[in-house]
Symmetry: C2
Subunit: 93 residues, 2 copies
């Protein structure tokens, strides 16, 4: 804050990793509920498609700006998006 | 790439805004489907809670690292998360 340094402060990184953690777990309860109920009719397949595509783009961005939080969060959400897509394809609504 | 400059390149920003755009529209098909079917039983309320909380944290992070893509994307997803929460509270499953 005092100077226009390019390195994020420790607090900034902490906030980023908190956001990263929350983003990582965003789809965990959804995957759990979908797995438990075997019901995914109300889930939009387009949402899942966009989640998978967008996380790939964000990963690219995260690598370029060297942002650990962006990379980690999107790698995990990409995986969970793929799991939801598998459920959507597998479970009969 | 050539030097360790702190300013992201134009391509990096372009990728960031592409990711930002995709993230923005992630929940649009979900909101549309939920609105059309008035059925949200398969949506996890915990997922929606985490979406709302995580976007607030990411907004804070985005402001601190002065990342336009992060700020814009999360402001819009925050709004859509609130809409989904409203549907979840309103539509009887």
């Amino acid at each position: 804050m005092s100077t226009s340094s390019s390195k994020p402060s420790n607090l900034t990184n902490l906030i980023g990793y908190l956001g990263s953690f929350l983003t990582c777990v965003t789809f965990v309860p959804q995957v759990y509920q979908s797995w438990k109920t075997k019901s995914v009719g109300d889930l939009s397949i387009w949402m899942i498609c966009i989640v998978i595509t967008s996380t790939l783009v964000w990963l690219w961005y995260g690598v370029r700006i060297k942002s650990g939080p962006v990379i980690v969060a999107n790698a995990i959400v990409f995986f969970l998006g793929c799991v939801l897509m598998y459920f959507k394809m597998t479970f009969v609504s």
